[in-house]
Structure formats: structure tokens, C-alpha cells
Amino acid sequence: MTAYRRLDVNEVGDVTVVRFRDHKIIEDVNIQELGQEMFRLVETDGRRSLLLDFSSVDFLSSAALGKLITLDKKMKAHGGVLKLSNIRAEIYEVFAITKLNRLFDIRKDEADALAAF
């Protein structure tokens, strides 16, 4: 069983649901590690339906956005589907300002996201 330091990984049917252990995704070392763990889910573990649940995240920097963008590319390259959910209002504003809400499929909550896979 793969151990993850920055992520809590669970399965709901065919969907891998990922929650973040860090409330603030800001420190560069943590973001690098987070990126590696998310990429491993796709490239090593072969997950093809991935939901990122942001319910525990209070803050994230633009460097974290970069990792999400790279994750999205990797998912698409492997024919997978990525969705995001439970994003608090201020963080959603960041996605909207950067127009990344047009890149990512962002859902209100986990139930809504799971139903959309």
C-alpha cells in the first residue's frame, strides 16, 4: 500500500477521492512533495478517475495551481478524468481570476462531483 504524506487517498467506487492534509498549500517543499504524490497516482498507480476534495484547504499559492495544471495534463494524456470539489469561496475566486475555472471541472461538493464521473 502506497503511503502518502500530503494526501489522504480513498476509493469511492471507481473514483479515487483525494483530500489534502495541509490546510495551507504554500510551502515550496510541501508543494513539490504534493505534486509528486498526485502525479504518482496517475503515472504509477494508474488512477484514471480522480477527484480532488479541497474541503480542508484554507489557502493555496499560485505554485500549487501550477501543480494542479500539470496534474490535469497528465490525466488527459492518460485518458483520465479529473474533477475538483469543495473549494471555498476565496480559493474559487483565485480560479476565476486566473480563468482556471474554465480549465478544471469544479463541482460544489463531493456528491455532485462523484455523480458527474
Partner: protein, 142 residues
Amino acid sequence: MPTSHDTWTWQCDQVIPSDAVVGRQLLDDVLRHLESLHWGRHDIFGVHLAVDEALVNAIFHGNAHDETKRVRFACRVSPQRIHVEITDEGPGFDPDSLPDPTTPCRRGCPGGRGVLLMRAFMSRVEFCDHGSRVVLEKERDT
């Protein structure tokens, strides 16, 4: 611009190494003071994001993460306003030359959003000294 009505309740002016951890400890002090003045959650989030992006730019882009180069962090906080100046020792840059990261062709790029976010969340962003000094100001909304 600061007015005679501003009563700065807290100030700091420090020179730090090109170390994001040290910079963020200063930023945490700033945010604690905003909280003590009961600034709203949205405003504090915006200041946190904008100032962090400016610090990262100074350290990683301005100073090229050169440990021999330093960053000056100056901040004044009042019940209604925050004023931050971050200065690096790099060659500067032209912020007007930055590509728009929101266009469809650049949306997939992992970087390049820091200045956009600074401008979105602060009341005023000004680059001085050929881009090696950034002034960030925010008037309290909530």
C-alpha cells in the same frame, strides 16, 4: 497614497535573506496584526496571497534564489489600510511585458500568475526601480 488620517498601528522594516520560510514568518506577523484589527476574512486572504506572491517573486525571480542576495520587507498596518514594499537585489523586470496568463494558449502554463493575483486582490500595485521594488496597498473592504 497614505493620508494624514492613517494611524499606523504596526510597522516593520526588515532585510531578510532570499529564504521564503523567513519571508513567510514576517508575513504571518502581518496577518496576525490584521486579525487583531478585525480585518475580514476575504481581505486577509487577499493580502496573504498577494504579499506571498510578491515575496516569492522577489526571492525566486528577482534574486534568482541567490542566498547572498537579500530582500527588504517594509510594512505598515492601520485599521483601514496596509502598505507593503518588497525590494529585491535583482536586475528588475518590466511587468508590462508579462504575458496574460488567462488566455487559452497560456492557461495551461504552470506559472506566471503572481502579478495578476497581486493586482486582483490589492487596491494598488506599483512596480518601481525598474521592477525590483513592488508597492502593494490595500484599503480595507470588510
